[in-house]
Homo-oligomer: 350 residues x 2
DNA sequence: AGCCTCTAGGAAAGCGCTTACCTAGGAGGC
DNA sequence: GCCTCCTAGGTAAGCGCTTTCCTAGAGGCT
């Protein structure tokens, strides 16, 4: 493996000169020399050792991203936004999947810290687990104290800047839409209990119920994994328990799509017999049949904004918190309950 | 930022001892010392500088993954497999999106090389661009010559081990199935011309046509981007050109789903009026209506196998090439053409 | 012609770690 | 009781770069 010194020897110059040339530093270098060095670099197929560069240089460059799971479309979208901005700034992105395991998340923070990344973006729900949260917080602060930048997506606590999606408000919108359509027997397909996203969205649904003079009982809520299969299973459980449900609200689109499969399987027409609404507005949600009513979170844009925060120069004004708006998107999976005279309300896709 | 030396000073020992303790090297250390050091590490919140470690250490640890786009479900699935194996081996994965740009791919190979990753996994179609391919090849070989391991997915050329999906064979199966159902007017929604995956799959379709005494004319092929929108546009173009098509073969599922949207939009019943078949069997393909007939590639497994290759000890027997089998999955989007007496053949989902 | 000022390029000191090699002291053998 | 052999721990030489500081020579000025 060729080193800087090899190149220098080959070109008959000092390592300092080679270094200046390959990093095209402002220091002027004679053209003849420059060419000789470049030729040597080429002949030796020299690739500078990035670890050595990082060590010797003061500034940091790469940025780390910790998400629950990139292969989940929700995070895939966010990640796309994160990447775009990072790439535009010439930054390398290191993506880490925590698979919703807080311990792994902690380990990754250490790891990114150790690798001297310029920033860490933490995307995904927080946990209802005080000790873990506190530990995370400490690590993040420590990282910040060494000059690292932190941006979190979707959690309130912790250090650094934050993008917080309107989870409560969005869920309120979804619930409100269902009640307005005339539904009274609504089942909720919730995510894992220990995730704050679950409780935030549930809270919105509860508030909508209250506003319509109803209450969401625990027996109408089924907790499951935030994925397709979780949704399928939860829908089944809910239906077994309350055969007369006329609407299902899923706390994300993946679960809603799973629920849709269960409903289809059981021969329940959507939205004729039962309405279904999701959350997130994943790209695929328009392609299922019926097209899914949902709450839109501009996922890619959230990524873009988060990375912009992570890359901004700290202005000494402390952490910045931005909200990401949620927006109701009524498509074809919601309608008035059967037997309700109200005429179908189908604003369609905007 | 605390360094090893700070910890050593604090604990009143040498840096060598601290290093040994935090890396729990085999060298024995008295318990009293170990505790003192660990306490110091804790008090100082010491996080070792990974760059310095990498530089000083001989062995490499992280592995780099270059994919076209993680947010594309095809790559998301593969990546999931890659990650799982890497994590099981305690390796950090660095994911890089090339966004199908060969130049960016080249740059990422350099970058991963520079960062001294232990292996590079390159996933995604190759390019019909000899100069670029040659450059990539050279870079990869250079990387290998410095001890890096290389594994590629879905391309024939290049250095290192390879997993090659049966693109030609899979497409043959799809085409064959359509012809057997009695279709004669088949339109093909192809990916970008310069990708080898496109030409490989097209070749399979061509062979199927030949075997059934037909020919695939260029006018029956529409090239587009390998994504949902590409499929939607291409389907429209094809239908405009040949209104009597009774079947559409898309070269991947994303395009097929886009095509489905166009067909729905135009009021063409699938599969009653027109059949549709995809390729890849993405998880979402069962959830669209009608459920998509397709060719299954065990994506996650491909990722698992690729990472296993990348992490294996080179055995001196040279590059290993493994094939990933393609398997026909007939679901609800394919049927005999309208007016054909043959009774519907619907093996359903396995 | 002599002196001063620039400028291009080199020497060398780190960056924060790992590890081969060395040393001092204690245990054990005779 | 002295010598040898371990062993726990320390010393210091790198790993491959960047960058500060320095030097030598060229050119300009009077």
């Amino acid at each position: 493996m060729a080193t800087l010194a090899d190149v220098a020897r080959r070109a008959g110059v000092s390592t300092a000169t080679v270094s200046r040339i390959i990093n095209n530093s402002p220091k002027p270098v004679a053209d003849a020399l420059r060419e000789r060095v470049l030729a040597a670099v080429d002949e030796l197929q020299f690739v500078p050792n990035a670890n050595a560069q990082q060590l010797a240089r003061a500034h940091r460059s790469a940025v780390g991203v910790i998400v629950h799971d990139v292969s989940d479309p929700y995070f895939a979208e966010i990640t796309r936004g994160l990447q775009r901005v990072a790439t535009d700034h010439g930054r390398l992105v290191i993506i880490c999947n925590s698979y919703r395991d807080p311990e792994r998340e902690l380990a990754y923070v250490d790891l990114l810290h150790a690798h001297q990344t310029a920033a860490i973006v933490l995307a995904g729900s927080g946990y209802h687990d005080a000790p873990v949260t506190a530990r995370l917080d400490r690590k993040l602060r420590l990282y910040e104290s060494t000059g690292g930048r932190v941006a979190v997506i979707g959690r309130h606590q912790h250090a650094g800047d934050a993008i917080v999606p309107e989870n409560e408000h969005g869920a309120y919108l979804a619930g409100d839409a269902l009640y307005r359509l005339g539904h009274t027997a609504i089942g909720v397909i919730a995510g894992p209990r220990h995730l704050t996203t679950t409780t935030d969205r549930l809270a919105g649904l509860r508030r909508a119920a209250r506003d319509h003079g109803r209450r969401l009982t625990t027996r109408h809520i089924e907790y499951a994994d935030f994925d397709r299969n979780g949704g399928a299973v939860a829908a089944g459980a809910l239906l077994d328990r309350h055969p007369n449900l006329t609407a299902l609200a899923a706390l994300n689109d993946s679960m809603a799509i799973g629920a849709l499969a269960t409903l289809r399987h059981r021969g329940l027409d959507v939205p004729g017999r039962i309405s279904l609404i999701g959350f997130d507005d994943m790209p695929i949600s328009v392609d299922v049949t019926p097209a899914l009513s949902t709450v839109r979170l501009a996922l890619e844009e959230i990524g873009v904004r988060a990375m912009s925060l992570a890359l901004r120069e700290p202005d000494g004004e402390g952490a910045r918190v931005e909200h990401a708006t949620a927006q109701l998107v009524l498509r074809d999976s919601t309608a008035p309950p059967p037997g309700n005279g109200t005429r179908a309300r189908r604003p369609g896709t905007p």
